[in-house]
Every structure is written in C-alpha cells, then in structure tokens.
C-alpha cells in the first residue's frame, strides 16, 4: 500500500529511508506511545466508526432478508445464492468489467500520450496543461449532464457534427451499445487529465540524458519512447493501473446521472445496481451483498496486482 501511494510521486530524497537507521530497539517509550495514540485518536475514531464498523456491518446485513429499512431476518447466504441466479446482477458484473477494460487502458494510453506531448518545450504548454486537467475540477454530476447535452439524440451537438462529416447518427441514448460508448467517452474526458498529471510527474524524473544517449545511439523517436520512456514510467503505470481499475469498479456518478443504468440495463454497473436495490426497491440485505461482492473483486484485483508487481520487481 505504501508503495502504491508512492508510485506516482517522484519521491524527492525519500526521507522515509532514514528510518531503519534510528533503530527499533530503543523505540516506543510508554509516554511516547501514549502521545502517539493521542494524536492518532481523532483519525482512528472517525475511520473506525465510519469505515471499519460499516464494513463489518455490511457483511452482517448481507446475511439478512430485509423488508424496507427495518431489522431483517437472518437468512445466511441466501442473498448470495440469489445473486448467482440473478441475470440483472450478471449483466451489471459484465458491464462493470467491460467498462473497466475499456476505460483503464484507454485513459492511461491517452494520458501518457498527452504527457509525452506536453513534456518537452512547447509554446503555450502551461495553458494547454491547465486545460487538460480542468475536467478534474468539474463534478461528476455536471460532467454527466454535459454528457447528456452533447449526446442527446434529438438536439445533441455530437450527432450534428457526425452528420456534418457525412457519418451516420449513433443511437447514443436509445441503443445499448451507443449508450455504453457515451458513458465510456464521458468518463475518459473526465479522467484522462489525472492520468496525464501522474505521467507528467513521472516523466520529469526521467531526465533528458537518457534520451540524448539513445539519440546518439541512433534510436528513432518510437524506439526512444518504447525503450526509454515506457520503462522509466513503470511505477506510474502500475499506480495508475490500480487507481483506474479501482475507480472503474466503483463507477457511479457518471452512469447514474447519464443513463441511470439504461436502456434496458445496457449500462447498469455494480454500484448503480446496488443503489437501486438498497435505496429504490429497499432490499438492503441484497444491496449489501452486492457491496461485499464489489469489495471482494477489488481485493482480488489488488492481490493479483501486488503479487505481479513484486515478481516484476524481483526479476528486474
């Protein structure tokens, strides 16, 4: 986890490394421990009460058959058994995975491309960089509503542009594939800036001497990109992979506001389906079970990532 949070950072001089030298033997005087937990207490109380307790509680609720918001009856794994035979749930799983596999590599590739484009000297570089990260300041709801405006089938500006180019209209709202594509495109617009920012920070750590050396060796621009840039931003790539996948698993704002999961569940994802169950049909035990599945998916992905990154570190 530490390395995860560090990956995007250029980590100047890494002060944390000094730690082991201070030695573990003489640490933890009782007074200092007391003071430390005093400083930690507000944070730990908040995290315990509003994150860890609800986590345990969510697992408990997922074993209950609830009617409305009241206490339910214990039904064991019944909710999970229901999930297995629930077509809508599987649709949401497939959509979530599809969304993740579309958004993650595309956002990263575009982010890296933009970062490389803006890394060197360029007139107006600062302004262009500001523009590219601007969507990060816009709320998900506003982003989604702008998306609705642009992709509207009757009055949307995008269909107008397509028509002007002699291309056919796309059923962005009534067609399942079109709606899914619109959600992905809006998400990319929203998130590429973040990917670019992390890559830009990583590129600044690469330094120009490697590129110059490769140029002297006669490497082409593509070869320099492939064999110098890409390996050098490896930690940022790993970090972004984790960040994008976790974000995509839990996508909610954009989908909920743009399509509400429609048409006919074509864009329904795990969190919108959980929300619908928990707060519209008020089947909260079932919704909690979907939340637990989402958590397990996230944990499984993190575990796989962590292991592969460790083996990669060992082999390289």
């Amino acid at each position: 986890m530490t390395s995860l949070a560090q990956a995007g950072a250029p980590a100047p001089a890494e002060p944390a490394r000094r730690r082991p030298r201070r030695g573990r033997a003489r640490d933890a005087s009782p007074g200092e421990s007391l003071a430390a937990y005093g400083f930690l207490a507000p944070n730990l109380v908040l995290l315990g009460l509003f994150v860890l307790l609800p986590l345990v509680w969510a697992v408990w609720i997922s074993t209950q058959q609830t009617d409305g918001f009241g206490a339910g009856d214990f039904v064991g794994a019944d909710n999970y058994a229901r999930l297995v035979s629930d077509g809508q749930f599987w649709r949401a799983v497939v959509n979530t995975v599809l969304f993740t596999t579309l958004v993650t590599p595309t956002a990263m590739a575009l982010g890296l491309g933009a970062a490389v484009l803006l890394d060197g000297a360029l007139p107006g570089r600062g302004v262009i960089r500001s523009v590219l990260i601007l969507p990060m300041a816009v709320s998900g709801v506003a982003t989604a509503l702008i998306g609705v405006l642009v992709f509207d089938e009757n009055s949307g500006v995008l269909d107008g542009v397509l028509r002007a180019l002699g291309l056919p209209d796309v059923a962005w709202q009534s067609g399942g594939a079109g709606a899914f594509a619109s959600v992905v495109l809006v998400t990319l617009w929203w998130r590429v800036g973040f990917n670019m920012l992390i890559y830009l920070a990583a590129l600044q750590g690469v330094g120009s001497h490697l590129h110059e050396a490769a140029t002297l060796d006669g490497a082409s621009a593509w070869q320099r990109f492939r064999y110098v840039t890409v390996p050098m931003v490896g930690p940022a790539t790993f970090f972004l992979l984790v960040m994008n996948v976790i974000y995509s698993f839990q996508v909610f704002d954009i989908v909920f506001v743009m399509t509400g999961g429609g048409p006919q569940d074509a864009t329904s994802v795990l969190v919108t389906y959980a929300y619908e169950n928990g707060f519209v049909t008020r089947d909260q035990g079932y919704a909690a079970a979907i939340g637990v599945v989402l958590l397990l998916l996230t944990l499984a992905f993190t575990a796989v990532q962590w292991r592969t990154s460790r083996t990669r570190d060992l082999t390289e």
Binding site: M1, T2, A7, G8, A9, P10, P15, A16, A28, E32, S33, A35, A36, Y37, F39, L40, P42, N43, L44, L46, L47, L49, F50, V51, L52, L53, P54, W57, L122, G124, I128, S130, L134, P135, A137, V138, S139, V141, A142, L145, I146, L149, S155, V157, W189, F194, L197, I198, G218, Q223, Y227, M243, Q250, F252, A274, G278, Q284, G291, V292, L294
Partner: protein, 290 residues
Amino acid sequence: MPTPATSPRTPAPGLARRRRERRLLVARTAGAVLVALVVLAPLYWMVVVALSTRAELLGGQLRLVPRSLTLENFERVLTAFPVMTWFGNSVAIALVTSAITVVVNLLAGYAFAQLRFRGSSVVFLLALSTLMLPVQVIMVALFRLVTDLGIYGSYWAVILPSAASAFGIFLARQFILGIPRELVEAARIDGAGHLRVFLQVVLPLCRPLLAVLFFMALLQTWNDFAWPLIALRDNALFTLPIGLLYLQGQFGADYGGTMAFALLSVTPMVVLFLLFQRYFVQGFARSGIR
C-alpha cells in the same frame, strides 16, 4: 535494445536536423492544441447553452458562436429553486469537512512521522487500506449507522463520513518526515510537550502541506455525489450536485436551465482550481489518491 540502422549523413546535418526538429515542434503544438480544443469543447458548449434563449435551443438554431446572449436561464433557475441555499450548504459542508479532515490527518501524520510507538506500521497500513474502500461498498451499512446515530438527513450525516478519510495521512507523514528531527528533539529537551512541539515547531513549517491537503479535501467534498445523495433527504439541505440532479429531474429537457445551474455549481471550484493549480497538482502527483 536493438540497434537501428543509422541514417545516411547529409552534407549539413545540423541544418537538416534543426529543420526536422522545427517540423516536429509544429506537429506537436498542433496536436496539443487539438487535444486542448477537444477537452474544452464540452465546457464551451455548456456555457453557450446556458447563455442561449429557449427559442434558439428549441429551434435547433444554435451555432458555435451564439448571436445573442441572455441571462434568462439563470433568472428562471434562481427563482424556481433555492439555489443560493444549496450554494451555502455546499460551502458550509465543504469547509467543515475539509477542516476536520485536514486537522485529523495532520495530527496522524505527525504521530507517524515523529513518534515511535508500538503498532506504528500496522496502524499506518490499516489506515491507508481504508482508502481502497470507498463509500459505495458500505453505503447500506453507513446509511443504517447515520440513522441509528440520529443524524440522518442532517449536515453531519454528510460531513462526518466524508471527513473520515485517510487520504492525507500519507502525504502528511511524508512531509513531516522532511522536518529535521533535531528541531523536534531540541524543543523536547527544552521541555515542550508533544502537543506544543506540534503546534509551535511543526505546524508553522507545514503551510504548503496544509494548502495541498485543504484544496484536495475541498475539491473532493464540493463535488461529492453518491454519499450526499443517500444521506440528505430535505430539499433545503441539498448540496449543489444533489440540487443539480434534482433540478434536472424537474426541468427534464430544459437544457438552458440545467446548464445555467451546472455552470453556477462548477464555477467556484474551477476558479479555485485554476488559481491554486500548484497545490492541486502537487496533491494529485504526490499522493495520487482521489
């Protein structure tokens, strides 16, 4: 690395090379401008639609550069909805949440950076691992919790769970580790307690950190959607994103009104973001946690 074929030498390699570099620079600039335009286009369109008359919108007569601008959409939205109340709610909730989260994370960062205690690394990892667990996974249980605590539907139902974030711990620890330990130890030898060291020695050196943490938290809470949607029920307590969704539900296809309100709701954060870009960029690049 494979050795590529060396390019044939031209009589004046410097000149040819410079020309090639120039062409590349032009191409790169054109590409960058194009990308920037694609990113800006939807925002520009939001502004145009917000400032256009209903007749123009309905008649499909919109053009890229509107001929006449109007504020009628803003007037309609402001009279039909308690926009200013929602604005105030957003400001209050964002400020209080950010203040709590910054203080709490700064305190924790100090403990992790400067104090040695049993369980330090376990607690650190535990706190950071909560970042992997956003509200979507636990929203049902969290809803039950705030109901049982008797704060459902109030400001606090939004503020407390949102403030319970470890996102600043790593950044704060990292920054405070950079403060020379000798400084802290000297103050300790002079008889200062930990709280006093924190307040009088460490805190004054933490201003850039404070700015980064504060702006990150502000951005997060100002735009937060999923949890406030669940935690708030009373129209008068809505934040801007929730109000925006509510308004869209009422206005439906009235894009002029919706975009006018969308513009009102995103402008403060966009302006802050541009003005204090340095801090936001540092926050994202250093912690990357969003």
